[in-house]
């Protein structure tokens, strides 16, 4: 089977719909399309063989069944495996089992696209900051939706469309080019950028001594190997008791002033 330019482009759009996070029902909507079970069927429809697409998509979805994206940190991306993987498998006319072996390694390219996307969007956030200073809500709304989606569209559609059109070879070339140091550096940067968000938030709730609680939360999490849930519960209780004591003293002193 051969894939036409139009078909390749449409499959690229299916991929974009799976990673755009908008405007159809946010990450839920998009993560439905992102699943190979769904995108496989759609790719099958585009390529004229819905049933084959559904079967191959289901097969490719199997290793991604327990996929979780938490805190914006994705393990290998099922979206690419479901679109490009299904397309290449259908084109090659292979069995579902072989389709899996073709599709899974493609996940890595998905990670690259994701990292680029989340890094570029940082600029729009800063532009929205400026809008907030000027009170320009219209522009803020525009910046929130349009430019990030154009970016997502471009970096989502192009590689997938190219991959469909030129076949598996091109894809592995892209991965090979970026792989190694460039990708690693991207990941390192992606790993430390959340520090800005956290620091800005800390600055926002900053009171004398609040940093101590921050470090406490960090040390306890790291050294006792706790997850956020028990830390949040314990912190909530301790915070309530501690502020009760402070308030206690304050009430007393407030009462004093009545004399």
């Amino acid at each position: 089977m051969e894939i036409s330019v139009l078909q390749a482009f449409l499959i690229g759009i299916v991929y974009y719909l799976g990673i755009n996070g908008t405007p159809w029902l946010t990450c839920m909507g998009s993560t439905i399309i992102q699943k190979p079970l769904v995108s496989g069927l759609i790719v099958g429809i585009i390529l004229g063989d819905p049933l084959a697409g559904a079967i191959i998509g289901a097969a490719i979805n199997l290793p991604f069944i327990a996929y979780i994206s938490a805190g914006g940190a994705p393990p290998t991306d099922p979206g690419l495996a479901g679109t490009l993987g299904t397309a290449l498998a259908l084109a090659a006319g292979v069995s579902p089992a072989v389709a899996i072996t073709i599709a899974v390694p493609l996940g890595l390219l998905g990670t690259i696209i994701w990292v680029v996307h989340m890094t570029v969007d940082v600029f729009f956030v800063h532009m929205i900051d400026k809008c907030a200073l000027n009170g320009d809500m219209k522009k803020a709304c525009f910046l929130h939706v349009v430019p990030p989606q154009i970016i997502a569209f471009i970096i989502g559609v192009i590689p997938v469309a190219l991959g469909c059109y030129y076949g598996a070879g091109v894809v592995s070339n892209i991965i090979a080019t970026l792989d190694g140091t460039p990708l690693k550096v991207l990941e390192v940067i992606g790993g430390i950028l959340p520090a800005i968000g956290i620091a800005m938030n800390l600055r926002a709730i900053s009171k004398p001594g609040i940093l101590l609680w921050f470090i406490l939360g960090f040390v306890v999490t790291v050294y006792l190997g706790l997850t956020t849930m028990p830390v949040a519960i314990i912190a909530g209780i301790v915070a309530y008791l501690y502020t009760g004591l402070t308030a206690n003293a304050a009430t007393v002193s407030a009462a004093d002033d009545d004399f």
Binding site: P23, L25, C27, M28, G29, I32, L37, V38, L41, A54, I55, A58, N61, L62, I65, G71, G72, P96, H117, T119, D121, F124, V125, I128, A132, G135, M137, A140, C141, H144, V185, L186, E187, I189, G191, I192, A195, I196, I198, A199, M200, N201, A204, I205, K207, F214, L216, G217, F218, V220, T221, V222, Y223, L226, T227, T228, M229, V231, A232, A239
Partner: protein, 294 residues
């Protein structure tokens, strides 16, 4: 001096209580629904490494400033800046927080004494727990089950598999999202009044700040990642920079160090956050290229 400060706050608060709930401007059902849908549709439209869902929060309430502070440009700008803070939660379950924030903003616009801290702390303190709850229940539980069902159907050659999965998940998750958001709005409304009339506001803000800061510390451990994979060769043996050296000194010292450095640059050096981002990018390049981290 702390007591004085708190007492001052208290009189301030009394004023708040008097004005309390004249409800000059109240949000209509449509306003709330609009905020809900904009949140649910667009939370991740501009998802990014720096502040994650921040602009999604602002976008979801974009119709509020004009409504709550008609004519008061300063208040409108303050509103916008207030909601560009780092925010990240699981959007469906965590919508309860957005709902609470909505009602706090409403009460504030009506004269209730709710400082920025209070709103910030509610968001910061709760986003982590609800991300954990939501991801576990949805992506970790519901989704695998529905996927298993759908894959089973599709593998048997039935094209309905995808639809069964997709439609069921959409219905369930939208229902959950709606209930959570509305529950948050209602709780917030009642909560705010209860809190204000009880005069316990101060303690709750202080407590929420402490809880928020502690949870942020915990989140730093999960979100800011910088592990060294470097090995120092020693004859036949190897010394791992991370486990044999850094972890023995202080576990997580790189992520914590970078976060504290960032705070220092932002707060004490008063640098713009773009500048700070540039610095972090350079640090990232250096750490990555030298292979210290990665």
């Amino acid at each position: 001096m702390l007591p004085q400060y708190l007492q001052l706050m208290m009189t301030f608060n009394n004023k708040g209580e008097n004005i309390n709930m004249e409800n000059k401007v109240s949000l209509s059902k449509k306003d709330v629904l609009s905020a809900f849908w904009k949140w649910t549709f667009f939370s991740h439209a501009n998802y990014n490494y720096e502040r994650l869902q921040a602009s999604g929060v602002l976008f979801s309430m974009s119709h509020l400033p004009k409504k709550l502070y008609p004519g008061d440009e300063k208040a409108q700008k303050a509103f916008m800046q207030r909601h560009m803070q780092f925010y990240n939660t699981e959007p469906h379950f965590g919508g309860i927080i957005n709902g609470m924030v909505l009602s706090m903003e409403e009460a504030r616009a009506n004269g209730a004494d709710i400082p920025d801290d209070a709103i910030n702390s509610v968001k910061t303190g709760l986003m982590g727990p609800f991300a954990g709850i939501g991801d576990t229940l949805w992506q970790g539980t519901l989704q695998p089950i529905l996927l298993a069902v759908g894959i089973g159907i599709a593998s048997a050659g039935n094209m309905l598999g995808a639809a069964v999965f997709g439609v069921t998940e959409a219905i369930i998750m939208l229902t959950i999202a709606y209930i959570m958001y509305m529950r948050g709005y209602k709780t917030g409304k009642e909560g705010v009044q209860a809190i204000l009339s009880g005069g316990k506001m101060k303690q709750l803000i202080a407590a929420a700040s402490i809880m928020g800061a502690t949870v942020l510390g915990s989140l730093t451990a999960s979100y800011v990642k910088a592990q060294s994979t470097m090995n120092i060769p020693l004859g036949q043996a190897q010394l791992s920079l991370q486990t044999d050296i850094l972890d023995k000194l202080f576990k997580g010292m790189i992520p914590l160090g970078i976060t504290l450095l960032t705070l220092y640059l932002l707060k004490d050096k008063q640098l713009k956050s773009t500048t700070v981002m540039g610095i972090l990018v350079i640090i990232g390049i250096i750490l990555g290229v030298t292979g210290i981290v990665g």
